[in-house]
Every structure is written in C-alpha cells, then in structure tokens.
Amino acid sequence: MIWLNAVVQGLLLGGLYAIFACGLSLMFGVMRLVNLAHGDIGVLAAYFSIILIEHLGGNPLWTFAAVVPVAALVGYFLQRFLFDRALDGGELSPLLVTFGLSIVIENLLQQTFGANDQSLNIGALSYQSWKIATDVYVGRLNVIIFVIAVIVIVGLQLFLSKTRTGLALRATADNRRAASLSGINPKRTRSIATAIALATVAIGGLFLAMRTSFAPTSGSSDLLFAFEAVIIGGLGNLWGTLIGGIALGIAQTVGSQINAADGILIGDLVFLAILAFRPQGLVGLKSEVAR
C-alpha cells in the first residue's frame, strides 16, 4: 500500500509538472527558445490572482477566468516586442533576454509584494481528499490539477492536429524557413505559441499557489522540474511532456519512499539517465506514420 500510495501521489504530482512543462515544450518546439522566465511568469500569474482577490474577493478559483486570458495576451505581445527581437540576435541572446526577464520579474515582485510567502487560499478544497484504498488518499485539489492537466494537454494536442493555426505551429516547429515559404506568418505563429505557453503556465502557477505557498523567487525551482519533465518526455512532444511529468513525479515520490533524502535526487537521476541513454525522450519519434 505504501508503494501504491507513492505511485498514486507521484502520478498526481506529474499533472502539475506537465502543466508547467507543456508551454516550455511548445515554445522550444516552435522557436527553439528556452524561456528561462517560464517559472517566474507562473509565479507572476499567482500574484496577479492575489491582487484580484484582494480587490474583488471571492474564491481564488474564479481568477482563472481572468488571469489565463490576460497571460495569453501578455504572451502574444511579449513575443512580438521582446522575444522576436531576441531571436534575431543570434543563439545566445534569447537565453540572455529570458534570463534577464526572470531577474526583472523576481525583483519587481520582491519590491511590490515583499519577500513573504503567499498562498491562494481556496479553503478546505486544498486539503480535502477521497480515500481510494486503505491508507491511500487522493487530495481533491491534486485530482483536479491532474484532470485539468490532461484536459489542457489533450486540448492542446487536438488544437495542434486539427486546426489551421495548429498546423501552422507544427509546420513552424518543424522547419521555419519552409513555413514562411508556405505562407505561414512566422511572427503571428510565434506570438500564438507564446500566448499559449503563458496561458498554460498561468494555470500551473495558480494551481501551485493553491497547493503550496510561493514567494517572488519560487519560479526557478518550478522551471527546473518543468524542464526535466520536458526532457524526460521528449522535446516538442506534448504527450511526451505529460508522460515526462508523470515519470518525474513518480520518480520523486517513490524515491522519497525509498529514502526521504533522495526524492528529488532520484528525479534528477532519471532526468540524467534519459539525457544520456535516450536523448529523444521516453516518447521519441519511431513510427513511420506521422502524429
């Protein structure tokens, strides 16, 4: 039961990692840009939610409806006015620009909100649970996060495979030059990718803020786990990102069960092992038939 419990909790944790990771994966796929400010933007979204609750009140759950669209809008223009310029500046400048953005966000948050830990209080939902077996409880919030993660990733996958814009994103991810020669507007496509990425990381940021507490500098550890999930699952592959998140989550919880000190370490080791022995990730491209 102990092991079953560890696996179940790791699975649920993986959902949170996957939400955080899918935007990172999408942006990397479409424009080869590793957004080092990804985690900080999730934290920023959580602070935005805190402001909304302070002024308008109510259960933080409603702020998803406001924060996520705003994040998408911010993403669209962030790409247009910042990241696009960085991408023109060679290989190093996107890294420098997103790293700079990360520092700017952290310090602005610190100046504005102080260093104290904050949390989005959703009342009893954050600790109510369902008992699914002897000594195996699943937190309702964690189940909700996992379900939303699957919905987000399935939805994103359907969007990519079924819509014209999704096709443009996939085409741009595959070959930028050919995409623009096929009449696909690269700026618009990149902006849409970043809009989606920021919308998803805002969802992740709000869930994280409900699940635990956060501070201006929390973004970097979120970024690390998201990055590991992306690599474990396979770059630029959304199913892979979900699988990667789950694999990382389970590795950490089972690792902690083996030895409390080793949870995060075992997650890191799985990540390194994948990098060394299966760099294309768990869900790498094999089949001749396209996705």
Binding site: A168, N175, S182, E288, V289
Partner: protein, 242 residues
C-alpha cells in the same frame, strides 16, 4: 502584362556581390528558365523574388506593385510560391499536413488536395506517412504540391531535378507542363540545362551576377550557352565533346 519585374537589383551573398544591377521581366504565363553555373547568382535571384532576402539596391515589382519590402509569407499571399532547393519538407508532419500547410494563405484557385493527388498519384497513397520517410522523387512531388496548394500565379522552382533519377525528372517536368496549362507563370532555376531549356519558352543565363545571354531556347546555340555558362570559350576540344 509584366507579371514580375526586377529593376536594377543588386544583392550580396555574405560579403560577395551576388547580383549586379540585374533587371528582368517575366510575363504572365511564361516559362522562364534561369541557368548558370554554381555561384552565378541564381539562388540569390530566387530569394529576392520569394522575399527571403532584400536587395541592397533596386526594386521588385509584382503585377506592377512594389513588393520589395514584403516578407516571404506576404508574397505567398500575393501569389508567389517557391519550391526551395533541397525541398525543405516538414519532415515530422504527414504528407497531407505538408500539403495543407501550403493552403494557409487561403488563396482561391484550381489547386486543392484532390487536384494535387491527381497530379501526383504516387503520393496520394502515402498521405499519412511522415514526409521524412519518403523517397527523393516523392518528396519533390510533395514540395511542388505544397507550393501549388497556395494557388500561386508565379511558381519558383529551385533545382527540382537535383539528385533525382532521370525517369523521375521526366515525370516532374511533365507535371510542370500541366501546371502551366492552368495559367501559372513558372520560373525554373536549374543546373540541369537540358530539361530546363526543353520546358522553357524563354531563358536567361547568369554569370557573376549579370545576365549574359537571353532569348528563346531554340534560338540559343550550344556554343553561346557554354560560353555564357562558363564565362569563356571552351575551345575546340570541348566543342567536339558537346
């Protein structure tokens, strides 16, 4: 009516001057072959027309509209499509998605999935396969099909026959005839002079960024072409060989 007009364009390839005050006019429905040796400026010429590169000096007009500052995807919307050298397919996407991505401009016309599959029946069977696993000839057909999906009025072809077997090259050129039959203007850049000249109704030869020879293909002598192509008279022995 002049469909495409280049007005004294100068362009660089890195630090090297690739085109020098080159002017060019292509009429609607024409099939223009651009020939020349490696480094003559053929690919630079195409990138000026497709919009991947801006000229240092000079202007580019399409249907008498100045398009010099338009980006590639904007030119595709106006009706200029390029089949790039090396094909540049979306290797991870299916054949059908490759073709559909060409339709992103939503230009109306005769070309759609069915029409492309009819033109190249051999790729219809592989529509679900990833483009990366196709043979060279199949890939070239998909690349042409993708460009056609934007219903271009001017189709630019960069080295379509490169690396393909003669029998496949013949099939592709046969398909080109059907494409022009729909009224599409064609600009063919080739090192494979024979096929290009056979298909074209006008030809220009580039040397060091200038037009050194032009005319209807049947009016150009082998000798004149060789001279224009290589930049000097090859002498009696070469002549005998040709």
């Amino acid at each position: 009516m002049t469909h495409l007009r280049l007005d004294r364009v100068t362009a660089y390839y890195g630090h090297l001057q690739a085109l020098q005050e080159l002017s060019l006019e292509v009429d609607q429905g024409e099939i223009l072959a651009v020939i020349g040796a490696n480094g003559a400026g053929k690919s630079t010429l195409l990138s000026l027309i497709s919009g991947e590169q801006a000229p240092r000096e000079g202007r580019v007009f399409f249907d008498d509209i100045d398009i010099t500052s338009l980006a590639p995807h904007q030119r595709v919307r106006k009706g200029i499509a390029l089949v790039p050298e090396g094909r540049h397919l979306f290797g991870t996407l299916s054949v059908e998605d490759n073709l559909r991505s060409g339709a992103s401009t939503r230009r109306r016309g005769t070309w759609d999935l069915d029409a492309v599959y009819e033109l190249f029946p051999f790729i219809a069977a592989r529509r679900k396969h990833r483009a990366a696993v196709l043979s060279g000839g199949e890939q070239q057909a998909v690349a042409i099909g993708r460009a056609l999906m934007s219903n271009p009025s001017l189709l630019l072809l960069d080295e379509v026959s490169l690396g393909l077997a003669p029998v496949i090259i013949r099939d592709l050129y046969a398909a080109l005839q059907r494409i022009t039959a729909e009224g599409t203007t064609l600009l063919v850049v080739e090192q494979n002079i024979t096929e290009a000249l056979a298909a074209a109704n006008y030809a220009i030869c580039l040397l060091e960024g200038r037009v050194v020879l032009e005319g209807k293909p049947d009016t150009l002598s082998q000798r004149a072409i060789s001279q224009a192509y290589f930049g000097h008279d090859l002498g009696p022995s070469s002549k005998a060989a040709s």
